[in-house]
């Protein structure tokens, strides 16, 4: 019986200590203005249209495109596999499971990149992970993937390869026809850097 009393007292006193101390605010997720500037300068939140096109075509299961435009715009055109969360409803409980999760790579997009950047900033401040922004939005997407500029014949190989990739991707995603810029022996695809997916340890009995 004595040990039980001692153990109870130990637990209770530890509980009293932890209850007397205010919640540790320093560890709560809140980015300072400096950190925010640093993140912006690093442009870490951006994923280029080439990367997204590659992920869509290879049917990467980690990719979750989120269309921030209004429902009518979404119905008119949206990227394959995208879900519609109008920016005004971003923090609705209904969508929380999509926005605050650790399994998929969320990519926000809107027409330009202002709205998606705002969405990214809000979710980043809330401490949500795995949210990214489609660089340049749908306008830049249309410019690069759907109607890529034909490079000069004298352009470096990478540029021609990038053009060929975009042309192919555009065709696969419902754009124009495939028509290589010139007869390259082996088109080198632009390097697509995959983001490592953060793992989280799962618990259970």
């Amino acid at each position: 019986m004595r040990t039980r009393i001692i153990i109870s007292i130990v637990f209770l006193s530890l509980g009293l200590i932890i209850a007397a101390i205010p919640n540790n605010k320093t560890l709560n997720f809140k980015m300072s203005a400096e950190e925010m500037i640093e993140e912006f300068n690093g442009r870490y939140q951006f994923i280029s249209p080439d990367e997204i096109a590659d992920m869509i075509i290879s049917e990467d299961p980690n990719l979750q495109l989120i269309d921030l435009r209004s429902e009518s715009e979404y119905k008119e055109f949206h990227l394959p596999g995208a879900v519609n969360i109008p920016f005004t409803d971003l923090l609705d409980d209904e969508y929380r499971y999509l926005v605050d999760q650790n399994l998929k790579i969320n990519v926000f997009y809107s027409n330009g990149s202002v709205t998606s950047n705002e969405a990214w900033m809000v979710t980043r401040q809330l401490g949500y992970r795995n949210n990214y922004v489609l660089e340049g939005g749908l306008n830049y997407w249309a410019e690069t993937i759907m109607n890529p500029d034909r490079p000069e014949q004298t352009s470096p190989n990478e540029e021609i390869a990038r053009y060929n990739f975009r042309k192919g991707a555009g065709a696969a995603l419902g754009g124009g026809s495939i028509e290589p810029a010139n007869e390259m022996p082996e088109p080198v695809l632009p390097a697509i850097k995959k983001r490592p997916q953060k793992k989280r340890a799962q618990g259970g009995c």
Binding site: S8, L14, I18, N23
Partner: protein, 196 residues
């Protein structure tokens, strides 16, 4: 080894190895404290042996206090700790099925492995049932998916629900646990263990 693997301090393979070693330790402790007997788990239901309640509640308390103090000292970022998402409907239905299985079989998945390892035939049958359940769940998933995902409540924590600080919640939880232990032991004394 949650935070270690998230921060790339150890690789997933090392993580598995550590899980293996910790698992052996866990099994050894379970077996040596008599949890491989189905009477222990059944005892909780019938009220003659409440050690299961005390052990798992104490484990919870230890982990809770440890995490809160580690967070206080800045050793662990509680945001990185996995919280089970709450799907209310499946939690209730699954809890009923699990509870029924526990009391019918007299084991929980962990103790059944322990008991099977020392050669208990009932535990082996229990594990067979466990795999059967896994098979039925997996193959029948399309039928129950709607119910499985119903009533998603996010990642609620008690302290957020009651809108009090984590520390105060912890203290309340400790008081509750100690009260539960005391009641359980009183109840235990009144209920004689059946003769087998």
């Amino acid at each position: 080894m949650g935070p270690l693997i998230v921060n790339d301090i150890i690789s997933p393979d090392t993580n598995l190895l550590m899980a293996f070693i910790i698992g052996i330790g866990f099994g050894w402790v379970l077996e040596s404290s008599g949890f491989s007997s189905s009477k222990k788990l059944a005892g909780l239901f019938y009220g003659y042996d409440t050690v299961v309640l005390k052990v798992f509640f104490t484990a919870g308390l230890t982990a809770m206090i440890g995490l809160l103090f580690m967070s206080l000292f800045g050793w662990i970022d509680l945001d990185l700790v996995y919280i089970n998402p709450t799907y209310l409907t499946s939690a209730v239905v699954g809890g009923l099925i699990m509870g029924l299985g526990f009391i019918m079989g007299g084991f929980c998945p962990g103790t059944s492995m322990c008991a099977a390892a020392i050669g208990k035939i009932d535990a082996m049958v229990f594990i067979g049932g466990l795999f059967l359940g896994v098979l039925i769940f997996t193959e029948g998933y399309p039928l129950i998916e709607k119910m499985y995902m119903a009533n998603f409540k996010g990642y609620p924590r008690l302290s957020e629900v009651f809108n009090i600080s984590d520390g105060l919640m912890a203290l309340l939880f400790i008081v509750m646990a100690l009260a539960a232990f005391w009641l359980a032991e009183r109840f235990e004394k009144k209920t004689p263990a059946p003769e087998y």
